[in-house]
Symmetry: C2
Subunit: 330 residues, 2 copies
């Protein structure tokens, strides 16, 4: 372990946990005999779909805004996000009495746009195909004197790491931990928590088949950029992982695997029918990999981060009804 060379240490996660204490939900860990039968393992689902604003992102957002000095708070914050980080920044900013501006792609789910607006943030929409998000953001930061809080930010990553910390504290040793990857904040935060709390735990990232930039980046050791991937996992339609993220993944993550949209839909239905929880497609990434046994972890104790539950009702209903063959217990 050479945490000292990485942007985030376990001490940062501990500090984030103190900042979040009494503000973030300590989300429950669910288990399911049927999930265990599918995975042929003992699976622990850390349910961040029950987190405030519906996803783990609240942890990082609140921690980052909470770490601002008085001037930073007075000036307000800005971020770019397809949805959950946007909602999280909006809610965290409101709770901390800071103004928030959020730059969202125009194809972000309407539920996520509406929630972000409800929490009181100003939304600026852009075209994912045509506009340069970073240029747009840089311009707004310059003009308005706002503090940028992207997903690739030490205090954001430290905040995201508190979910895995809680999971290990609650269930004890795990041999595997599966985490979804969009920009990589949750995966890198989780990996640092795991490296400290369970050094023998194998950490695996999961991203959509349609956009395996994180897999390519981890395997090649350089950040690979891809076109906007077409996948129902809207939270993982990222084109590249963060600069702070890659060294952490190289140090602490064994591999990144992929799952298809069909697997995500099936997993969404399994969650609704069998486990009675609403999980968005991105939140199904890690679980789909585990229930479809991408690796041989027979008999192991396997942790899964269920990252979020924000999904348009109509999209959710379609996914539930589009299937004729639910998963059958093997």
């Amino acid at each position: 372990m050479i945490d000292s060379q990485l942007a985030v240490s376990y001490d940062d996660i501990l500090r984030a946990a103190r900042t979040l204490d009494g503000v973030a939900q300590r989300t429950p860990v669910l288990t399911s005999h049927q999930a265990d039968a599918h995975a042929n393992a003992r699976v622990f689902f850390k349910c961040e779909n029950f987190q405030r604003a519906g996803a783990f992102k609240f942890r990082g957002a609140y921690n980052a805004i909470g770490c601002l000095n008085d001037e930073g708070r007075r000036n307000g914050v800005v971020t770019f996000s397809s949805g959950n980080h946007a909602q999280a920044i909006a809610l965290a900013a409101r709770l901390l009495d800071v103004s928030a501006t959020v730059i969202m792609p125009s194809d972000a789910p309407t539920a996520k746009q509406a929630a972000t607006r409800e929490y009181g943030a100003e939304i600026i929409l852009y075209d994912r195909e045509k506009d340069d998000r970073e240029e747009l953001t840089a311009g707004i930061v310059r003009e308005r004197g706002l503090t940028l809080i992207p997903f690739d930010h030490p205090e954001v990553i430290a905040g995201q790491g508190t979910a895995a910390k809680e999971l290990f504290e609650e269930v004890g040793p795990l041999q595997y931990l599966f985490v979804c990857v969009g920009g990589g904040g949750l995966l890198s935060g989780s990996a640092i928590a795991a490296a400290h709390l369970a050094p023998d735990c194998v950490v695996i990232g999961v991203e959509p088949e349609a956009g395996n930039d994180a897999q390519q980046s981890l395997r090649s050791g350089t950040i690979v950029r891809i076109p906007v991937p077409t996948t129902i996992a809207d939270g993982a339609r990222t084109q590249f992982i963060g600069k702070l993220v890659l060294p952490i993944l190289r140090e602490h993550v064994r591999d990144i695997v992929t799952v298809s949209d069909a697997q995500l839909r099936r997993q969404m239905r399994f969650f609704a029918e069998r486990m009675k929880i609403v999980v968005e497609p991105t939140g199904c990434l890690a679980s789909a990999a585990v229930l479809d046994r991408v690796l041989d972890f027979s008999g192991a104790r396997v942790g899964v981060i269920v990252s979020g539950g924000n999904i348009d009702t109509s999209v959710f209903s379609d996914a539930l009804c589009s299937f004729s063959s639910p998963l059958i217990v093997r």
Copy 2:
């Protein structure tokens, strides 16, 4: 308190808790800032939709079958149920290696029929309008020498009471506890737990507007029978409450209130969109009463039992999509 005259005591609940330890899920208690805003109170949701077989019924079923002597276990059990008690008996019997026969109305949700069959029970269907369920059951008990485990059974009621016991243990004092009523097993078990653990807690039952037999029975002091009520709350399409139940309700339940199917649909959508959980219509009864503020409990700590989550996917999708105006936080 004159528990000694009642069919079930708190000691029975303690014994049931020991029987269920390590077998039943200790289900999580969820909270929601948005729910609190609706109710203008601090609301604690005991989520029995996460119980094994998807509803609190597993508690009573497993406890009752677990209390059988060797002969009873060898002979097998029989019950009648519209769904959740059926699934619960089927699963509990399988776990205890006992054969189970379940008498279900032919209009029971197909998901509940399928799950009951999957757990290995034999299903006998009857026509709710034409057939006499009790006569049919009595005939089968006679012919096959099975032990009848109805919902109105001391060990079933004691088992159901363990959910409220866990809720009080986890969250501490509550001023109100809201519980749905079908046959009354959950409400009476919960009321006994509350009377012991929180004697000042006001216990309120909630049933569908379309079938207020429990309300009439509690208020009149005699068991009132009604025609099969037409409501989406299929678990509360009961025509009368149990004989063991009524004296417990008279002793320990303040009142029974009703909610409409429209309120149940809205609550189902609230649970899915805002709290990310799948709750069946019957499971929404108590919560709908609380979020629609049937009583003035401003500022109080209010417990709610979310009784189950077993619902046909198509019915669930319809309910989610049938609405144009979701609940707005007041």
